[in-house]
């Protein structure tokens, strides 16, 4: 199928490379035997001039030249001119058919095959003098070298001549294959269809013929009806065996350093087993095919299934005809590239109808006729959908509708990774909708499921927020580039909606996280997912240019601060550090620009300062801290409040997460002391050494936090 990869762009380089090699070798030979000509050139000359009827047996000149050319051909391939000469020599049968087949067998082109030579070859072929074995060999040679033929327009214009051989029983498979490669829409004519049908009636359904007919149907579905059996054995055999290895070796040798871009083939995704197809057919992505042309379409329309490479796609982008079933676009990567450019509303609606119906039938109406065991196929389908949406960076509205419906009845475990991943693709929607269709049902599942599901939900929401922010960022930077397109007023409106939505989401996650942490007994994995989320939230201003400062709730901060795991505390340090950076830069920006629209509430600063005081007094000041933790500490968190009154036990030395390090540090400082007295670290000198020691352990978040927030001269209060 994928044989027509255009290689023209590296052909010239390969050629020049060959020429270079030839030049070099000729220069060398010049140096050695200045009077002797290039033997290869002489051999070619011999073949082009040899008269018909020259005896073959005992002809040393012929034998020597054949051996020489063969060696060159198998070694580095033949340049285009040599291919033309040798092909003409062989097919003219001037020295008989045995020489002909011998030449054909080593006719390995280095880079390209001139089209003219092939057309001449076909004309020799049509003269009918060649024995059948040579004809077959020639056809196989063309099929093998098809991709190397420099252009095919003339070959296409002698389509009719080639077609006439389709009735030949022996040649038919090869001719069909060649026609298959050459056929364009203009070639499909009723008389040819009729002829092929006749041949089919005579010879039965041979795979090559069937394949050719199938292509005809693809190009002109109104003339022919055919349906392929479910298990089609590969239509065309590979005819390249005599040349395969030699050609591969030559091409590899001649390949320039520049690697061509990977071919974007129409890799129709492997379908799962075709058993029970009838019952499960709704999960099958339809094949690319074009609709019946009952209405006359534009003359130059190109069908997607005819395209083989990305370059071809680009060339024909304006003439591509949409497939009969839009769902088929999901079947290949090339088609997805095209889908990205489709603006036709009804085409997208068709796609959404198809996709929505597949999802509904499979997951909502469960019309699986009672064999629910086979769950790999549905999850494969969902995976396909996920990767498609990832590629398009957008959510299909039908999958969005489906998800909203599905959430209401989801048990939280069926296809969990896929569903969560799909949920994260949901685009920003008005807050009320989001609350009703996503937040509410998801919350119920969250609180009734395991800690791993909770982590999954937080991660899903993080990824969702990240997608929204990225989208917004691209939007706004696009706006700056082209201000004339939109009035700033509408943007403000949407902006406020967007801000409201992001705020709602962050607060929602805050609620989920604080309650979840408590429910799961401060599970470390959930801790990290939560901090992951806030690592995104804290940088919203600097990274995404969104003036939004949403601090984590106390139910997240204090459990992280008092965690027994140093990495959690470290990450919290990093989050607070980034909040500070964002706030500082926002403040600067505000002072410079004095934009009225840019407003940061005082409360944000106040809240942040409180947070800072709490954290600093805990980690740094080893003295009873009078932290007003605010009223937002939930009643259930009262134990935390009482714990805070003991916060002198939570400075960097006595903190349960760092106790280990403090002891290690103590042992390093005073190796001879068996009595560990950690308070001795609180001396000014040792304190900073201790900090350095901690930083050297890789606590970068803590390092950023401390270095940016602490006056370096200050000592922990209570030190010596």
């Amino acid at each position: 199928m994928s044989k027509t990869m255009s290689k023209s762009h590296n052909v010239s380089e390969a050629e020049s490379c060959i020429h270079g090699a030839a030049n070099r070798s000729s220069r060398r030979s010049e140096r050695r035997r200045a009077d002797v000509e290039d033997p290869f050139g002489r051999a070619l000359e011999y073949f082009s001039q040899v008269k018909a009827g020259t005896p073959v047996k005992g002809n040393d000149a012929l034998e020597n030249n054949l051996v020489l050319v063969e060696r060159v051909a198998l070694g580095r391939g033949l340049p285009p001119g040599a291919v033309a000469t040798l092909l003409d020599f062989a097919l003219s049968l001037r020295l008989g058919s045995s020489v002909c087949s011998r030449v054909l067998k080593f006719l390995i082109p280095a880079s390209a095959v001139p089209q003219d030579s092939v057309v001449r070859g076909v004309s020799w072929f049509c003269m009918g003098k060649m024995p059948v074995s040579a004809q077959i060999l020639f056809l196989r040679w063309i099929l093998t070298m098809f991709d190397l033929i420099d252009s095919k327009d003339q070959l296409r214009s002698i389509y009719g001549f080639i077609f006439s051989f389709v009735t030949d029983e022996v040649l038919s498979p090869y001719v069909c294959h060649l026609l298959y490669l050459l056929t364009t829409k203009e070639h499909v004519q009723p008389f040819r269809v009729r002829k092929l049908l006749e041949v089919q009636a005579k010879m039965g359904r041979q795979p090559p013929l069937t394949q050719l007919l199938a292509l005809y149907k693809v190009l002109c579905p109104e003339m022919i009806a055919i349906s392929m059996p479910s298990k089609t054995r590969g239509g065309f055999k590979n005819h390249n065996l005599p040349w395969k290895t030699a050609l591969a070796a030559v091409l590899k040798k001649n390949k320039t350093a520049e690697a061509p871009s990977p071919p974007l083939s129409l890799d129709i995704k492997e379908k799962a087993s075709t058993r029970k197809r009838k019952k499960l057919h709704h999960l099958e992505v339809p094949q690319l095919s074009c609709g019946p042309e009952i209405e006359s379409s534009r003359g130059k329309a190109v069908h997607l299934q005819q395209l083989r490479s990305f370059a071809q796609l680009l060339q024909n982008l304006d003439n591509i005809e949409l497939p009969a079933q839009m769902g088929s676009l999901l079947s290949s990567s090339l088609a997805l590239h095209y889908l990205d450019c489709v603006h036709d509303e009804s085409a997208l609606l068709r796609l959404n109808f198809w996709l929505g119906s597949v999802l509904h039938e499979e997951f909502l109406f469960c019309s699986r006729d009672g064999n629910p065991e086979n769950s790999t196929e549905p999850s494969q389908f969902l995976d396909m959908l996920i990767s498609t949406q990832d590629f398009l960076q957008e959510c299909f509205s039908s999958s969005e509708f489906f998800l909203f419906k599905f959430l209401a009845m989801w048990d939280g475990s069926l296809h969990q990774p896929q569903i969560l991943s799909l949920l994260s693709d949901i685009p920003p929607l008005p807050v009320s909708r989001m609350k009703m269709f996503l937040f509410e049902p998801l919350q119920q599942l969250y609180f009734t499921s395991s800690v791993f599901f909770k982590c999954g939900v937080i991660e899903c929401l993080r990824s969702m927020l990240w997608k929204w922010l990225t989208w917004h960022f691209v939007q706004t930077s696009h706006k700056e580039l082209d201000v004339s397109l939109s009035s700033s007023r509408t943007m403000n409106l949407h902006m406020s909606e967007f801000l409201e939505l992001v705020t709602e989401l962050v607060q929602y996650v805050g609620r989920l996280a604080s309650a979840g942490l408590q429910l799961e007994n401060y599970h470390i994995l959930l801790h990290h997912q939560t901090l992951n989320f806030y690592e995104l939230v804290c940088d919203v201003y600097l990274k995404f240019n969104l003036p939004l400062f949403l601090l984590p709730p106390s139910g997240v901060i204090f459990p992280s601060l008092l965690a027994t795991d140093p990495v959690t505390v470290d990450r919290l340090g990093y989050v607070i550090f980034r909040y500070r950076q964002n706030l500082m830069s926002a403040k600067e920006h505000k002072q410079q620009k004095k934009e009225p629209s840019f407003h940061i509430s005082r409360d944000v600063f106040r809240e942040f300062n409180l947070l800072m005081v709490a954290v600093v007094s805990c980690l740094w000041i080893s003295k009873d801290c009078q932290v007003d933790v605010g009223t937002d500490v939930h009643k259930a968190l009262v134990p935390l409040r009482t714990m805070l009154s003991y916060c002198k036990n939570y400075n960097l030395i006595h903190h349960p997460a760092f106790l280990n390090y403090a002891i290690e540090f103590h042992q390093k400082c005073w190796p001879e002391q068996t009595n560990v007295d950690l308070s001795s670290i609180q001396g000014k000198k040792y304190w900073y050494w201790y900090l350095e020691f901690l930083f050297s352990q890789g606590f970068d978040g803590l390092k950023d936090f401390i270095q940016n927030n602490m006056d370096h001269q200050s000592t922990p209060v209570g030190g010596h």
Binding site: V193, L196, L197, R205, T210, L213, Y216, K217, E222, M223, I224, A225, I226, S227, M228, P229, S230, T232, K278, H282, G291, I294, E295, A324, M326, H343, E345, S346, L348, L349, N352, F353, W354, L355, G356, S357, V358, L359, H360, L364, F365, E394, F396, S397, S398, F401, F402, F404, M409, P428, P430, R433, W471, V474, Q475, H478, S486, T490, H494, E497
Partner: protein, 352 residues
């Protein structure tokens, strides 16, 4: 699962909002459309709580009687179809040729068949004018497949092996309006004949008009509606019997067949009809009362709560309907009433 929900529990479908036009698009160029949810784009599909009371109408005045007999003869298996893309009522002849070639090709897989040649099957597409009730409804399309016996004499009549039709009666105007002009919505598909031909016909439609089929079952609320509506017809058109079939969730499942004298059924129905609804509509409350009356009567005799089971089948002399989506219409006078209800069920199944 969705079917299990009765209208009483959730008068609104699970997803009341639908966004019709904007789907997957390139947002980069049209920033506003991503957030712009104008109220016009949000339509609500509701399961109606009231319906028009059935009125006997001699449909033969509007529809060719021959075609009517085709519709009421068979038991139909119901499916829903998403809107057909570029379906034209003017191209039915071409579709006939295509479908017959397609069936022939499917029958002998791997063999190509020339379109337009005589094959073993003859397909006829025809429009049944007059079934549509409103201007928005697309005209009903009837498909008949006849086969030629292998060794038939030339004079032998063709045998009808399969028939089916696509229809839309009183389809939700909001839904039909929101479709783009390239689409024709004929959401209800009824088929009768061998399953393998149904599969081929469906796949032909899916390939030709980029639509999809799904089976359409009738939930108990729909069956109750039909039960009440048919009973209400009794004075005009003798229903002869009202037979209901329940399956109770016992081990093993218990099937209960409950046949009611038509006059008794009508009297019960008449008694639950509310005074203020004489203006030709029937409310869901009345239907529920009617069913509750039937069930409590059964309980008084057998001490079995029928409401704990599922209603599987309703049949009268006017027609019958089953939970798995098999419907038989025996009296053409109430065709519109039944088809309106079935169209509505089909539209509720639409994915977007």
């Amino acid at each position: 699962m969705m079917e299990g929900r009765s209208a009483m529990e959730s008068p609104v479908t699970r997803l009341p909002t639908r966004r019709r036009t904007k789907s997957y698009g390139r947002s980069c160029f049209e920033a506003s459309s991503r957030f712009a949810y104008t109220s016009g784009q949000l339509t609500i599909l509701r399961i109606p709580t009231t319906r028009e009371a059935p009125r006997a109408r001699n449909i033969a005045e509007r529809v060719d009687p021959e075609q009517v007999t085709l519709l009421i003869k068979n038991e139909w298996k119901l499916s829903y179809v998403t809107p057909l893309y570029r379906f034209r009522h003017t191209h039915l002849k071409k579709y006939s040729k295509h479908l017959s070639a397609f069936i022939a090709a499917e029958k002998q897989q791997g063999t190509a068949v020339e379109v337009g040649l005589e094959t073993g099957y003859r397909v006829t597409f025809s429009t049944v004018l007059g079934i549509a009730e409103t201007d928005e409804d697309a005209e009903t399309v009837f498909i008949q497949i006849q086969s030629k016996p292998m060794f038939a004499a030339t004079g032998d009549a063709l045998k009808v092996v399969w028939s089916g039709w696509l229809t839309c009666v009183n389809g939700s105007p909001e839904y039909l309006h929101s479709l783009l002009p390239d689409f024709v919505s004929l959401p209800l598909f009824c088929s009768s004949g061998p399953e393998n031909i149904t599969v081929v016909v469906k796949s032909w439609f899916e390939k030709m008009f980029d639509c999809r089929f799904g089976s359409l079952g009738l939930d108990s609320t729909s069956l109750q509606w039909l039960c009440a509506l048919w009973t209400g017809c009794h004075p005009d058109n003798n229903i002869r019997y009202l037979r209901l079939l329940w399956t109770l969730p016992t081990q093993p499942p218990l099937d209960v067949s409950y046949t009611v004298n038509p006059q008794d059924a009508w009297e019960l129905w008449n008694s639950v009809r509310q005074e203020d609804s004489v203006d030709g509509t029937v409310g869901i409350d009345e239907v529920k009362h009617f069913m509750a009356g039937l069930e409590s009567h059964f309980f008084r005799h057998f001490k079995i709560y029928l409401s704990s089971g599922t209603l599987r089948k309703v049949s009268t002399a006017l027609g019958s309907a089953q939970q798995d989506g098999k419907v038989k219409i025996l009296c053409s006078d109430y065709l519109a009433t039944v088809l309106t209800l079935l169209t509505e069920c089909a539209i509720l199944k639409m994915p977007i």
